[in-house]
Symmetry: D2
Subunit: 251 residues, 4 copies
């Protein structure tokens, strides 16, 4: 068994292709007496303006019109249990009642702090022993370790993603879900750079609520915030962000 | 002013193009140990099977992965107030605080039971009089009739649409929102006929929970249900459905 | 007709009596291996600490366990349409399909910027005329002015209330829903002063995300925020808040 | 270690005391022009009528006004992971990041199909070994078995409970969450027998959508449904329900 951890895959498998434009038109229609057809030929520049304005003024509801579906594979049930706590989202999860994680399908997530996979092998042997002694599959899995791998299909809209990123990109988030979140951010930024320009951990989100010039993950502008919501003082925030982000290097 | 009523427009302006396939793959992944790539070359036949099975066995969560955005224009605030009561959806509405429904933009929805538009003209004159006397726009609208026209951008996923249709295609639903619902159904059936094959008012939905062979709006199979949830007895249900659907002919 | 406006009533008719304690115990249980019985004899001091900590560290999910039901009577459909846009809440609204706002039950909300109620009387006469000409009740209401009075029963949990207050106590909120929001805040503060100690418009909420010592509506501590999310600069925020709050004096 | 399984506790720790009355008044207000005060002296008989009518006619939104908080202790993470998938609810869960399930706090749920607890003891030894070798708590728990015990505080309103019961009282639900669901039903029926009179697995819920005389779990009236949504034919449904319910005898 390979101890390289974080072998999970995060793939954006479907999304609202013209999501940024849809959001811009919707935002404009809320201020206009005209209908969709009158706005549909919007320039890319105008799209950028409406989208950025929506985010920087907290007009969050309008960004719900763009939606993202991910296939997230090979994460632990420790992480999936945290993930599904985000309630404004849709989930379909591989069921260990019906899909036995046996043989080459047993690929538990082993935290980097472990020196070897011995414990996870022992758990596996106990699982197999139970199956062989006649314990049904849906019961035998009570023995599987929490690190056992699972797959999910997850759909979130852009507003929920902002909320999810705010909480889960933060260095206080548990490292596995944090790695997943940073990877999801990469995926959506690739397709909708304007829409996710201001996404980040809550320190960034909150900072943009209260400062004159907006801030992004890319520029290390000094914070106005005295502290982040988790208590990190102004001077330590950027270091904390970079530290959180470095989880991706462990892959 | 033209008394032809129901001049509203319902346009599907964006949706998950491969929504039926996404749903099918997600459903399959919940039973499989393999990932997205292993399922992505699914045949259309297999898509149909997974999607239909999901709906007929009440596996609703999986159909949430497909999402639909409508531009709904020229409906009354009577209807929009009912529409936004569906909470698992996203809305952006034209604001009468910022967009004055004046001149050619005043196109109230006049119910077919009215003989003329006189009352609506009187209301309009009072609205204009208030504006001219210095009442600000956001206050003057308190005088606008409930029938005044508004526009919305609405996003719902397929599960919420099934729920919305169940309630709003029913003959007990108020006629304007009912007309909107039948039009929305037309739109989504055009693009995803497999997914919305079993959509209908609650009598149809509930019937499919409890009968052996599924039923659709198209075939007039006899009901097993003794009555619909609204109290219409078995023999009257099809007539009630056709009556409800006929609202579209009034356009 | 009396031109005194804002005659609406906001009444807290039910709520989680021991809500603050429930929240405190739940928060403590998330960090503890022991069960409910081991925490149930919590001192008031300890309750205060757990509740305040939850709010000041953005541990919002825990405050969802306390719930509040209001009877809101005599507001306009302008306001009710905005109110029901808050989706994480439960609503039951008086139906103008079934309950005719006639005679003494016609009490439209007349904005203070109107000099008289003439327009609203004209609308009423048109409504009655339509009813008398045989237009059914559910259609005649298309003529009723948007200011027409309605009643709702509304249930929100403490987390949604914080969100609702953040948006609707703000001076940018439309004046009627703003007045309703300030009145709702009064009601919940009366019964749960600890839990709603830090509630306020978003400027206050956001400020507490980023400053060392928390701030409340009662103390006029200087803001660290350079601006509020609506763009009011630091020096103007307190004046803006007091201005917003003064809506209650118009009752 | 005692092999008696299902040692979990389900306790209703808070709820809307006058929930049935609140629901009845709200339902009545939707049809009335009068306010709360005019309805507050409702007789118990009238309460019963409004509440039953709401449920039997699918007027579900009104029953959201009554809310229930449970302390659920000693369930497995297999069950808690399923439980939190119900998104219209509030959860606070014991964190294994902060609360080590060691010594007397390690009380895994061992399915009745196991002959002994050996596998769970082995897992525990591996967990302790990891902790002793310096693996931090939040990582060591990747080794804990999925059956490891956890505690949650859960709040659901009556509508969500009806939905939860529909799915989780069913014999197809996994046995542990099924046992929890039957216990929760006992708890809420004790305090609000009128409101939960028609609660049951989906076969019962759906049957009441389509039959003339309502049916409850207590009376074994013949089903009109040809089959339940899970495919059990008419003749087998009552046996299936009793079989599902018998899970409580295993405690």
């Amino acid at each position: 068994m390979n101890l390289t951890t974080l072998n999970f895959k995060v793939r954006l498998v479907s999304y609202t292709k013209d999501g940024e434009k849809i959001i811009a038109i919707a935002a404009k229609m809320s201020r206009s007496r005209r209908g969709w057809d009158d706005h549909v030929d919007m320039s890319e520049d105008e799209v950028r303006t409406w989208v950025s304005d929506a985010i920087l003024h907290g007009y969050w509801s309008v960004i719900e019109h763009s939606s993202y579906t991910f296939s997230i594979e090979g994460i632990s049930r420790v992480a999936s249990h945290q993930l599904v706590r985000h309630r404004i989202a849709s989930y379909t999860q591989m069921s260990h009642r019906f899909a036995k994680p046996k043989d080459e399908f047993y690929r538990p997530v082993i935290p980097p702090s472990f020196k070897d996979d011995e414990g996870f092998q022992t758990s596996y042997r106990e699982y197999i022993k139970a199956l062989e002694s006649g314990v049904p599959e849906e019961d035998a899995r009570y023995l599987l370790p929490n690190g056992v791998n699972t797959n999910l299909v997850v759909t979130m809209n852009a507003r929920e993603l902002y909320n999810f990123f705010g909480l889960r990109l933060c260095s206080r988030a548990q490292w596995e879900i944090r790695a997943i979140a940073w990877k999801m951010l990469e995926e959506v930024k690739r397709v909708h750079p304007t829409l996710f320009r201001y996404a980040g951990p809550n320190c960034i989100i909150h900072e943009n609520f209260i400062r004159e010039e907006p801030i992004t993950l890319e520029d290390e502008k000094e914070f106005v915030s005295q502290r982040c919501i988790e208590g990190v003082p102004r001077q330590g925030i950027w270091k904390c962000i970079r530290n959180s982000q470095s989880i991706l290097n462990k892959r």
